[in-house]
Subunit: 375 residues, 2 copies
């Protein structure tokens, strides 16, 4: 069922909104009235496009919490196109608009780097849930760190979360979590889509997590001597050896040289979502001298992994997925069975009702982080 | 004259590029082959849009260095639209695409916050000029600082550049430059469009500028007790009193409490571009107890200013504009005459051949910063 806006609502769209008209999404740009999120989690989209023949809303990816799109938008006499979705799943949902078949971003939305480019997104709040909100608690910083990679021969950028008080406390040293994004995303994802800094701020303020540094790097890296792929527009090839070398030879040494870290495998963790989970599984077990804890968020089903190689290596081994992302949940359950069979201690987490989307990963981080660096 | 791509070039677009086809702009997203910048500074744009009736490139604002648009794109048989501009002015140019009349961003471009929303941009290099490049020199950090504003009653975010070595040198204190963006932009502009961090890194590495902290805040601020404007989509009203209160009562105290600043008006400067220059002119002369130096980059002609109020107040008073932004240049020259008449020492800067665009402001910063905090 799709509920279309009435013209009377449209007429009031740019004026003061009534409560039943919902509120501008917090993921919007400043002053943008649309998309609007209603109390029952329906979402209304609007685009002014008098000369377009067809405008649709396309949710990104499979099982997107906005529902199965595309949603056809309906044209009003003034050239404004609009549609309201059925009630949606809470969380952050990627989407874009199809204007006469061309995929474009919604000018009302901030952009969020996904699908290999800036992408629109809409935040649907979960009632009573504030663990990822920007609350009035002491905030850490997120620092852009530019560094030269010997592996790629090029400059790179990482984002580094330092907890509140890092600068005041000039002696204390901190454990470090390396936390990676998914395919098509980049080092910005965990802050802008994931709100990882606020999740850490809130957990630390509540005394529920150790103070720690969190590092997000770009998961794509090509060695300096690698010829560009002949078709650079093709799908990403899941060869993580370039990133592995950057991580071990450039990034970890740079972080340990730059910040007051505890440069010890017991105080260093790696976690990643989706493609980042594949990186966790492929890179980390062979480098347990570097990483003592491991988080695997929504791993794609990537065939056989020799789970026995995880045995006795990790202080914390955490796997999880959303219940609405079936293939990823199946991969987690299969690993769970395998770890049990091998008698390898681990934590399994299931995010109820969420798919291969950022609320799954915010909840994953929120469950994972309090278990890290506790002894 | 508009040079259209030949089909043979189009066929090669996604394969390895030949030298005469230009290079992907550095402002593009990773892997995006278009827009491409040619050696003679022509720029080629491309969009796949088989079902569109009309696609154009629209440079943002007046006197945009891309030239006078919109540029009509031409459709090839495969549904790909393309156009090559005449040779362009160097620098960073905002633009967007018009797809059947709808203003949308180019999926090949990163987004840059301007015009009140994420906007496409293309970087055209200036031959032999590297003062804003990401060079292999010691880099400062750019830190996202979240803070609670008592003035607005809401959370805010500032970006804070700390110079290379800030963390290692645990005692040294630094002067601070508050550096503001223009209308429709936000606190990200000076890093993403302005490359201010690289400009500072390079100047400091060359021994040409004092080590300093640089703060970029959002220039928009509404007091907590201010009712929302009835039409929130209207043009920005140039009432800077909310921002003035945030700056003086929230931001400066927060920065002085958080970083190792020299909390002294002689070691504190304010500069801004366009709307930020208006803020500089309206706010700072009445607060010379707080700010000892002033930079006015491309001030809009805003009628009469009592220049005598600047007398004897500033260690550095700097005004500048590009020679291709006539009204702003006229405003600078008028101020220059006025300051001369009042016998007020000041520096005048003209950026040759650039308009109301970011290369004017990068050059302005590059001239301004070495003069700050020198005695």
């Amino acid at each position: 069922m799709r509920t279309l806006l009435t013209l009377s609502l449209l007429a009031g769209a740019v004026a003061v909104a009534r409560a039943d008209e919902g509120k501008p999404a917090t993921s919007n740009v400043r002053r943008a009235e649309f998309p609007r999120v209603h109390a029952d989690r329906r979402v209304t989209f609007l685009l002014k496009a008098p000369d377009a023949k067809s405008v649709k809303v396309q949710p990104g990816g499979a099982a997107n919490g906005l529902g199965n799109g595309p949603f056809d938008m309906e044209r009003a006499d003034d050239g404004t196109w609009t549609v309201t979705t059925p009630p949606t799943v809470p969380g952050f949902h990627y989407y874009w608009l199809l204007v006469d078949g061309v995929a474009v971003n919604d000018p009302g939305s901030e952009t969020y780097f996904g699908y290999g480019k800036p992408t629109s997104g809409v935040e649907v709040p979960e009632e009573g849930v504030d663990f990822y909100d920007d609350k009035d608690v002491p905030h850490g910083e997120v620092r852009a760190l530019w560094y030269h990679s010997k592996v790629t021969g090029r400059p790179r950028r990482a984002f580094v979360y330092t907890p509140a008080g890092y600068d005041k406390n000039r002696v204390r040293r901190y454990p470090v979590l390396y936390l990676q994004h998914g395919a098509g995303e980049d080092e910005r994802g965990w802050t802008t889509q994931g709100r990882a800094n606020f999740i850490l701020d809130n957990l630390i303020d509540a005394g529920r997590a150790a103070q720690m540094i969190v590092v997000n790097d770009n998961g794509y890296a090509e060695r300096a001597d690698t010829a560009p792929a002949p078709d650079r527009t093709g799908p990403p090839r899941f060869d993580f050896s370039g990133f592995e070398e950057v991580l071990l030879n450039d990034l970890v040494p740079k972080i340990d040289a730059t910040y007051r870290t505890i440069a010890d495998r017991d105080r260093r963790a790696f976690a990643g979502l989706s493609m980042g989970a594949m990186q966790a599984l492929q890179i980390v077990p062979a480098h347990s001298e570097t990483f003592g804890s491991l988080g695997v968020f929504s791993p794609p089903p990537i065939g056989s992994i020799d789970l026995s190689t995880f045995k006795g290596k990790f202080k914390l081994l955490w796997i999880g997925a959303g219940t609405a992302e079936e293939r990823f949940l199946a991969a987690v359950r299969k690993m769970h069975e395998g770890f049990d069979r091998e008698v390898i201690q681990h934590v399994v987490f299931e995010s109820k009702g969420t798919a291969h989307e950022w609320l799954t990963w915010r909840r994953s981080l929120h469950d994972f982080v309090p278990r890290l660096f506790r002894d």
